[in-house]
């Protein structure tokens, strides 16, 4: 029977199936950990007197809590410092490779995995973080897990899982000028809704997806969880192989050839089964922005907020709009913005920084806007400096910080004040996500950069010609 990409990788990782139920003992190739969701897992391992089963398959970094200023100094916030110290202590005790603060490879876990060549096609990758789906961009099965599962992988390198259903989302055609990977995924989520892919693993396909760079593909796969999907993936191709080749942990020499031969078998065969198979057209996608408090509440920049939601959804919809300070049916164009945040595991890679820099070069941010750029990793930061992007950004009034998750989830000092509006390149616009009372509008780095310069939301088409 014709197999999908997902089935090929899933089947290759089934240690055994449990008779009588739908559960598989499922093998994990790489386990990424960070300071927030790992301490209780290490404690549990110790409490049960269990060894760490395959420490060489774990990579750790500190990202969620870390400050984005003065990383060379001790962390000021005591609870954050304690969590980061605990990670260091656990990694030393258990012999886990740690790219902690100050390390040249430190950064957001979903940025460093790919850029170091840790993430490879055909792998299974987990992390105690829902945006682990990012790594699916390489043709891997990658998904977020809870802390109990982090313990399970530490103890056995396996998870007990039921096989999700398969969904294919095809985007065919050529993307219009100014429409980026972020707009593609915000568009898909706006169509499917925030729970529309719950229970599914999504494969993104079609010529518009194929045309994306690896950075763009990561942005798309990253937000799969925002429509409830277990994960998202894209079949590896020459773009993928070109990206992986030569990276620190990528296979070399003969191993590379062997790997490549295997990776070329990773695609969905003609006639493979998908329980859900959807197609969208690239030409229908415009630059997007969200107006509500879940990522499914997105519209084209120049469209209006819906005013005809079904009665059953009205309570939640009204609550959301009240929080945002918007009215049904109104346009967002002309709304003043207080903050622009460019960063997070969705959009903090070198390509994103280049997009912003190339737009803001020779311009300046508006006076009413505070513009913060947080690179995804030390390597992205280094590259940006080498390319002179830091100077362009500084001249435009953008503050280039040090790497971390930052204002995406506001666990560190980078918070948006209550009531303030922030156009953010991150992945979630939930109530209070960027700080208690903060109002988040999700958009692409290009839209964010233009908003910062204008000081308000504008129809970006005037800039595109």
């Amino acid at each position: 029977m014709a197999k999908s990409l997902f089935d090929k990788i899933w089947d290759a990782h089934v240690v055994k199936s449990i008779p009588g139920g739908g559960l598989d003992v499922f093998y994990i190739d790489k386990h990424l950990i960070h300071e927030v969701t790992s301490p209780q897992a290490f404690d549990e391992l110790e409490a049960r007197n269990l060894p760490l089963y395959r420490k060489e398959q774990i990579v750790a970094t500190a990202d969620h809590n870390v400050p984005t200023k003065n990383q060379h100094l001790p962390i000021e916030e005591p609870l954050s410092r304690m969590q980061v110290d605990k990670l260091t202590e656990n990694c030393q005790k258990f012999g886990v490779e740690l790219y902690g603060l100050g390390h040249q490879h430190q950064g957001i876990v979903h940025v460093i995995g790919p850029e170091l060549g840790i993430t490879q096609p055909g792998m299974t990758i987990v992390c105690g973080d829902s945006h682990t789906s990012t790594h699916g961009a390489f043709g891997a099965i990658a998904f977020g897990i809870g802390t109990s599962q982090v313990t399970q992988v530490m103890a056995s390198q396996c998870l007990l899982l039921s096989r999700p259903k398969r969904m294919r989302v095809t985007v065919d055609g050529e993307l219009r000028k100014g429409v980026t990977a972020k707009d593609v995924i915000l568009y898909i989520i706006s169509k499917l809704g925030t729970g529309g892919a719950t229970g599914y693993f999504v494969e993104y396909a079609g010529s518009a997806i194929r045309s994306l760079s690896m950075e763009g593909r990561m942005t798309v796969c990253n937000m799969s969880i925002e429509m409830g999907a277990r994960g998202g993936m894209i079949a590896p191709d020459e773009t993928t192989f070109e990206y992986v080749k030569g990276r620190k942990f990528a296979p070399k020499g003969e191993e590379w050839e062997k790997a490549l031969a295997y990776w070329r078998t990773l695609y969905s065969e003609e006639g493979a089964t998908f329980e859900e198979d959807l197609t969208y057209f690239a030409e229908d996608i415009a630059p997007m922005i969200t107006y509500g408090t879940n990522p499914g509440m997105g519209i084209a920049l120049n469209a209006s907020i819906p005013d005809n939601v079904p009665v059953s959804e009205k309570v939640s919809f009204d609550k959301s709009l009240k929080y945002m300070g918007f009215q049904p049916g109104e346009s967002l164009l002309g709304k003043e913005i207080n903050y622009v945040f460019i960063g997070s595991c969705t959009n903090s890679r070198i390509e994103d920084l280049r997009t912003v820099a190339s737009f803001v070069k020779g311009k300046h941010k508006a006076r009413n806007v505070e513009a913060i750029i947080v690179p995804g990793s030390k390597l992205v930061e280094k590259q940006a400096i080498e390319e002179g992007l830091d100077k362009i950004l500084a001249e435009a009034g953008f503050e280039l910080r040090e790497p971390g998750c930052s204002a995406c989830l506001a666990m560190n000092e980078d918070k948006i004040p209550a009531g303030a509006y922030c156009v953010s390149t991150s992945n979630r616009n939930f109530e209070g996500r960027q700080g208690p009372g903060a109002r988040t509008l999700l958009a692409s780095p290009l839209v964010a950069a233009i908003t910062a310069v204008e000081g308000k939301i504008v129809d970006i088409t005037q800039y595109l010609n």
């Binding site: 829902s130 977020g144 809870g146 056995s156 719950t198 277990r230 959804e313 939930f430 209070g432 996500r433």
Partner: protein
């Protein structure tokens, strides 16, 4: 993990859809390195204002409502994978969450912590909200061994789905770690016989 069999309790209603784990437990409270104590910050920003005073009208602050069952709008637990959300709900004294569907990761996290995510139809969920609003003392019964849920006041019993293995785990207080660690032989055999390994 505590054992779970039959639970009789009144319920606390949260008729809001798409409740994400950032609402259940905001990120700024994830800095603890143990599993305990998250209950006091459950629904923190819906429950307390910025001064820490209870917000009137929120179900957890409403003296009419009490019980070990939380009834919530569809797509409960979406967003972040933080298991702290399940810990917070459990720590606040809940043993069951009823909704018309749950986000996948939350569902798994709940089951791994002795918290039962119980799926009912959209229609049943609406009926429950109406009934609890009418009489907050309404008793609900969740019978895990029989996989049945019912309101004694009503005639019918509703059966619910749960994976047979997960059901055994909940009833006996086992978890996946015990199971997986016992699979070492099979896991090692798999590792040694892979045609392709990373």
């Amino acid at each position: 993990m505590d054992k779970f069999e039959v639970l009789r309790s009144a319920a606390v209603p949260l008729p809001i859809e798409n409740i994400d784990t950032d609402q259940i437990i905001p990120a700024r409270f994830l800095k603890a390195t143990s599993r305990e104590g998250f209950g006091e910050n459950l629904f923190r920003d819906w429950r307390y204002d910025s001064e820490g005073s209870p917000i009137e009208g929120f179900a957890l602050n409403d003296s009419r409502y009490a019980g070990k069952i939380l009834v919530a709008g569809k797509n409960f637990g979406c967003g972040s994978s933080r298991e702290h959300a399940a810990w917070a709900i459990y720590d606040a004294g809940f043993k069951v969450v009823i909704s018309s569907y749950f986000a996948d990761i939350f569902k798994g996290n709940a089951l791994n912590n002795g918290l039962l995510p119980l799926v009912v139809s959209d229609e049943m969920l609406q009926r429950l909200f109406v009934q609890i609003e009418k009489d907050p003392k309404t008793e609900l019964i969740v019978d895990l061994p029989a996989q049945e849920f019912y309101v004694p006041l009503w005639e019918e019993r509703v059966s619910f789905e749960i994976d047979p293995y997960k059901k055994e785990c909940l009833i006996n207080g086992y978890d996946d770690i015990d199971f997986l660690v016992n699979q070492k032989e099979a896991i090692e055999a798999y590792e040694n016989n892979r045609p392709w390994a990373y």
